[in-house]
Symmetry: C2
């Protein structure tokens, strides 16, 4: 009888280097900002060529796990949700996402965020929401742009949930959705009404969060989302049109 062997799974050495360093970062043993050993030192520790280490590090840089700073020293880079979100938003734009698709997801995520924030918002988080509300009222009176404050309001509600999975899931959508609403604020026939309705809804939501009133928070966030679509329709905008570009880009 001849002995037979199962096929070996051999990873290229640079991938093994990549995975060894990734594992230390995932486990938390290497922390944000920590400096990595030099290429030479890593090559020695791993017992591989410097070129292998270099290829592994290139992969770490490409995945955003490591950044090269002044003097070319390598530092651990923990991706924050605000850093990854634009990449996901961009992927959505490239895949020709429509306003309706974004809105459908907001219709479920935003009311749930309001519910969870009701249970968990700290005093500091409620203060931040209050400040945002007053700034938005001032901007409405002054006729200055509301979009950034609107994006911030919804991000503050989401942050008050303390749910990192929710934050990472909704941020890329939020980056595209709220700026798409900008057109409503800018159209002469809708701007005053749209602005007032948004501020009014935010007021009800903040009041509900302060009162820890889950059902009112859910209800007003839901109404608020329905209102976005209604404004879009009233302005004769096509909700099935693709979102053409990233906000803030020419």
């Amino acid at each position: 009888m001849t002995q037979t062997f199962a096929r070996l799974e051999v990873s290229p050495a640079y991938k093994v280097v990549y995975e060894a360093i990734e594992k230390e970062i995932l486990s938390g043993r290497l922390k944000e900002g920590d400096q990595l050993p030099t290429e030479t030192a890593l090559a020695e520790q791993f017992g591989v060529n410097r070129s292998t280490v270099r290829e592994g590090i290139r992969l770490l840089e490409q995945s955003g796990l490591v950044r090269r700073e002044a003097g070319r020293r390598l530092h651990v880079n923990l991706p924050h949700y605000t850093e990854l979100a634009p990449r996901v938003s961009r992927a959505m734009v490239m895949q020709r996402v429509t306003f309706r698709e974004l809105w459908e997801v907001c219709m479920v995520l935003e009311p749930q965020a309001a519910v969870d924030a009701c249970d968990r918002a700290s005093d500091a988080e409620l203060d931040a929401l209050n400040r945002n509300l007053w700034e938005m009222k001032a901007a409405l009176d002054a006729g200055t742009p509301l979009t950034d404050l609107d994006v911030e309001f919804h991000a503050l509600v989401a942050e008050a949930t303390g749910n990192k999975a929710l934050l990472l899931a909704r941020e890329p959508i939020s980056l595209l959705f709220y700026p798409a609403v900008k057109v409503l604020f800018e159209r002469p026939e809708s701007s005053a009404v749209a602005g007032r309705r948004v501020v009014q809804a935010h007021q009800y939501i903040v009041d509900a969060l302060k009162a820890r009133d889950v059902e009112t928070a859910r209800l007003w966030m839901h109404k608020h989302m329905v209102d976005f679509k209604r404004g879009y329709d009233l302005c004769g905008l096509d909700i099935d049109a693709v979102v053409e570009r990233m906000p803030g880009r020419a």
Copy 2:
């Protein structure tokens, strides 16, 4: 009176190169797989130094918009949701996301996915769900692993919604959530019951999708999600423990 000027916002030249190419990709004029001109040709067209072009391209590579292929020619790389999702999942692991956080988001996204899939699933998509269901029944009988089929089932439901924003938002959570359920399938005291309950729920969901019965689809996906947590609790697992690692990694 002295003329005063507003502060100019000057971007470094390599960023302008990056943005010029990104814009062509976002607009769809440069498509997946398209080859970029050489560095020399780009430098000539943009009227900048080759080193500036090289720096701009480095940024494009880092953002995953461009990949370097054999012969070092540069090609446009359109990020697909399955490509970005592991990066977002990894960010969640690094930020020490808990099973409860993942579950909370699944509790809202998955039932909505079932509802939208009810309206929109094509015959081919229903067939794929059916096939998945039968494979899972066979795996249950054979005692082979169910996790990959479970992940696939929920991805198929999400794909049947045709909503690209939903797909991109839920995939990173799904990649962590369903494999975390694996422990239930593996524990001797829960495996048989857990497997049967999962297959049963999938059966009800597929039947509802075929019948275009929105309320039953929503109800059974909701029950199914509640069941995951119940199983977790019954096994004495801590739902607030952090998800320690990416699935499929040592």
